[in-house]
């Protein structure tokens, strides 16, 4: 028990003194996951609008499929990305395996289904009369889509935050394709897992606390949005 307590005290010390190792990992984690979320967002918002606003055969099935991938295990995505970028894989020539870049690609792939699916349901939640009203006031089809996206903005932001939460908290993919290289691809989750197995509890706890703090901030922002 005292070991945990000591670990906790030490961990807070590491955070308060802005320990370079801890801060480096935190910064890298945030950079990778924020970038991955941005990429996924750039893909999912237009794609989600496209799916929502167009009628086509198999739309329902497609949406079901997207929703199925919400809970895809991170290690499965990790395996897929690993095979894709390993030396013998189709994209092996790019030499990206065990770099932050491939981690960003992997995390973006991981959260795309969630972000896409939630974007579509956010848009479906908007009154059908909204785009119609916009068009009747002289909006072009594109302007009407923008109006609907703006109406759904809180739900869309919530979707983005949830996706970011999934990206920053996953460990399997980061470990498999990032390799947990110190100072290069080591992020919160991989560091915690490694330090714990090494017995270096205080660093693990410090990183865990920061990770929980980030989750807390996301939650507060989400709650604020939902109350509006």
């Amino acid at each position: 028990m005292s070991e945990i307590w000591q670990g906790l005290v030490k961990a807070i010390e590491l955070i308060v003194t802005l320990d370079p190792e801890v801060m480096g990992i935190a910064g890298r984690s945030l950079a990778i996951s924020v970038t991955a979320t941005l990429f996924a967002g750039v893909i999912c918002l237009p794609l989600g609008s496209l799916i929502h606003f167009n009628r086509f055969i198999g739309k329902r099935t497609l949406i079901n499929l997207i929703q199925t991938f919400y809970s895809i295990p991170t290690v499965v995505v990790g395996l897929f990305v690993f095979l894709l970028f390993s030396r013998a894989g189709p994209l092996g020539g790019l030499n990206l395996l065990f770099t932050p870049t491939v981690m960003i690609i992997g995390q973006a792939m991981l959260i795309t289904p969630v972000l896409l699916g939630l974007t579509i349901s956010a848009l479906s939640g908007v009154d059908k009369a909204i785009p119609e009203t916009a068009r009747s006031l002289g909006a072009s089809d594109f302007q009407a889509v923008v109006v609907v996206l703006r109406e759904a903005r809180f739900a869309v932001i919530a979707a983005i935050l949830l996706a970011f939460g999934r990206a920053i908290s996953e460990v399997g993919l980061a470990l498999m394709v990032g390799g947990n290289i110190r100072g290069f691809t080591r992020v919160f989750t991989t560091a915690i897992s490694l330090e714990t197995s090494k017995g270096d509890i205080e660093l693990a706890i410090a990183l865990g606390i920061i990770l929980i703090l980030i989750a807390l901030i996301i939650n507060i922002v989400l709650n604020r949005l939902q109350q509006r």
């Binding site: 009154d127 009369a129 909204i130 119609e132 009203t133 916009a134 068009r135 009747s136 006031l137 002289g138 909006a139 072009s140 302007q143 109006v147 703006r150 109406e151």
Partner: protein, 360 residues
Amino acid sequence: MPLIETVELCQKYDGRDILRNINLKVERGEVLALIGPTGAGKTTLLRLLDLLEMPSSGKIYFEGRDATQSKKVGFQMRKRMAFVIQKPIVFNASIYDNIACGLRWRGAEKSSLRQKVSTILEMIDLSAHQHRNARTLSGGEAQRVAIARAIVIEPEVLLLDEPTANLDPLSAAKIEELITSIIHQYGTTIVMATHDMSQGQRLANRIGVLINGEILQTGDPREVFTLPMSREVAEFVSTDNIIDGIIVSGEGGMVSVDIGGSKIIEAISGYPVGEEVSVCVRPENITLTLSKTTSSARNSFLGQITGVVSMGPLSRIEMDCGFRLVALVTRRSAEELALEKGKQVYATFKATAVHILRRN
């Protein structure tokens, strides 16, 4: 050239006829009310006029140009109009931004946009609340914002779908006032749908009666209300006192209509003897007295009151005169005559108050 003209316009949804052969002309600056019961196709017609949907057949000409030829032309035409749909929908944004959106989509300059929006805000009496989220508005206020949002773009045609439906009388009166001031200030061409006949009468200078997807009659409000051309229109504009009969004699424009039970109604009409007709008498043109009068009115029937319904300042008296007859009298005279169920009264109306319709 009319501003808008529709030629043989038809619309079908899933093989069901919603509109049939609509031929309508709207002149610049006129206020046309489309009246008709719910489900008659008024909304569909407005949506077609706004090019929000394409007709299954027929054409819509906007200043002589076929607006149905392509989506692009339709969009160009739609930009010159504004349509206020029935359910007031406001965007989840401030009142100011709601009103400004149409101008922004048209790429309006910032300073002129601000000036136009504030003018309209004053007109709808919501200047003080312009930064409030429009979602917090009441139904009547939201409808005012919806109308303001439409007229701020100074459309050539304003389409209004049941602008006062689902509003309380006070809010409805405010909306009508707003529409009246739009007509006076902007001279906008307006096509409005309403199921409220009196609203059509108050606001419009021409009325089109749309029943079951067909325009059955157009004309100035007085004409439509006093001289309906068919039984359907008559039933809609005055649901009371449509009595079937046959013309049994006629001389010098005066005819006698046998309505059965050896009752004869005298009326002014040019229809020949033997013609099967319907007799329409507006309830407000019937006078009730307790004893037989010696007035010049040609038609007088003794009847028994079967019901008295108070309608604010008026009372609606239902009678059995051998046929059913309904009269509207002021509440005061109903009280003076002590009209009540079971009482015998004389119902009297002039031959000129009778409108004769030919039955098909």
